[in-house]
């Protein structure tokens, strides 16, 4: 592993994919409007839930907004990096172009998960941060160093879990060839990350923290923001994130053994 080499390659990836994406400038504008509308829509939905109730699952409206903000940031990250790259795996496998990736003198997972970038996701990330700062103000959270490090740790763990989930689903393409729909299933499950975990019934809560750890992705970072979180939860998230990253890596290497090229 030569870090400098990878950085240099990544720079080239960034350059080429930005250049090709900026060809579709109106597209980026449309995506921005989509992101804004989607955020407004979910805030609207949340306001319906709260119109006659002060609390949902023990969360006030202002507190639940933090979850929306974190969800928006993570969704922006997904749209910028994970979605454009990992949906490409499906194409690589169906058309047999994965051969070319495997032949390159570079780690295949690195190549596959960082080749492309979709700049319109940046706007969504920005939007999420705006909402987050707004939430910090209305919830009167005072920023200090330990809080900042904890929130940084939990959010990066969430990103790792999210990435591993996406990568895991995309890897199954090696057996199933078409996994668009599996990705749709993941998307619809991730959708519930917009709401506090406590607002679901007990059985669903268990499901979403054990089988698909969506609970960890948005709820725990939001709890850190509110100062409600306990240490063991944060530790648990770090452990889950590490386990997920390692397993997804192992799974990829394992799956590659079953790859039999197509159409060549």
């Amino acid at each position: 592993m030569n870090l400098r080499k990878y950085l240099k390659v990544y720079k080239k990836f960034l350059h080429t994919s930005l250049a090709s994406e900026l060809e579709y400038k109106t597209n980026i504008l449309v995506d921005l409007i989509t992101a804004i509308l989607s955020l407004l829509g979910s805030i609207f939905l949340l306001s319906i839930f709260f119109q006659n109730n002060g609390y949902i699952g023990g969360w006030k409206f202002e507190q639940a907004l933090i979850i929306q903000a974190i969800y928006t940031i993570l969704n922006g990250i997904t749209n910028t990096w994970f979605n454009p790259n990992l949906t490409e795996i499906v194409k690589h496998i169906r058309e047999g172009t994965l051969d070319f990736v495997l032949l390159k003198p570079i780690d295949s997972q690195f190549f596959i998960s960082s080749k492309k970038i979709n700049p319109s996701g940046f706007l969504e990330i920005l939007l999420g941060f705006f909402l987050l700062f707004f939430c910090i103000r209305i919830n009167q959270i005072n920023l200090n160093l330990s809080f900042l490090t904890l929130s940084l740790i939990t959010i990066s763990c969430s990103i790792c879990i999210l990435y591993s989930l996406w990568f895991f689903i995309s890897t199954t393409t090696i057996w199933f060839v078409k996994t668009w729909n599996a990705i749709e299933v993941l998307r619809s499950f991730l959708y519930i990350g917009r709401f506090p975990l406590n607002s679901f019934s007990f059985s669903l809560r268990i499901f979403f923290s054990v089988f698909i750890p969506i609970a960890f992705i948005t709820t725990i970072p939001s709890e850190v923001f509110l100062g409600l979180s306990v240490l063991w939860k944060i530790l648990l998230e770090v452990i889950v994130a590490t386990v997920f990253l390692i397993t997804s890596r192992k799974f990829w290497l394992f799956a590659l053994k079953f790859y039999s090229s197509a159409s060549s």
Partner: protein, 244 residues
Amino acid sequence: MLEYRVEIALWAISGIIPFFMLNIWTNNNLNESINISDIMLSRYFLCAFFVRQFSVVWVVFSFEEDSLMGKVSPYLIQPLNPFFRYFAQHLAEQITRFPFALIIAFFFFIFNPESLWIPNLGILLLSIVSTFLSFLIQFLIQSIVACLCFWTEKASSIERLLFIPTLFLSGLLAPVVSFPAYMKSWIYLTPFPYLIDFPANLLSGNETNISGGLSMQILWIFLLFPLFKKIWSQGTKKYTAMGS
């Protein structure tokens, strides 16, 4: 279509968001404020799931791919509007999806046995008609968006934009009855509540204006169809074959 059984099963699973929403509604007793009982609400969301399963449309994605790959050119020579081809595909997939949707409904009733009900035949037929009309409205809207492919190559981003109001205003995530009054005053003039809320209310036996809803659906189809024909005829004149 039967070749892709797993695919279609996964599609069916990906539509279960209404059930998560139901869980939030009932678990927090939110339904008390809008005067709908638990049972009626769970029926509503089950019906919303069904209506969504049989009215989901993806023609713009197929058309965009075909037009980028240059596959539209041979279709255009044939004496049949290519959208009939997509229309038939959609219908075929809806039929294959039916057993999977039934399985999901079966599990739903195992977990919520008290919400089991049998709609009477007339209502069932009417709601099938209105679901089909809802499918037609969405198919026409997406076909109009798909025709924009003739002008810009990526029409699917416009579709994603249109999907947002469809998602939030159609009643898939929250019944339109629960919307605040300032929304209710104008929302019934838009096509959105007739996509899911109206057929789902009809099927689940919740209160709804049957003749009004059906006539609005038909009205929207009559408005959208000429628009589609016009944009189609203009688009084909504009068409420059790509990838061939």
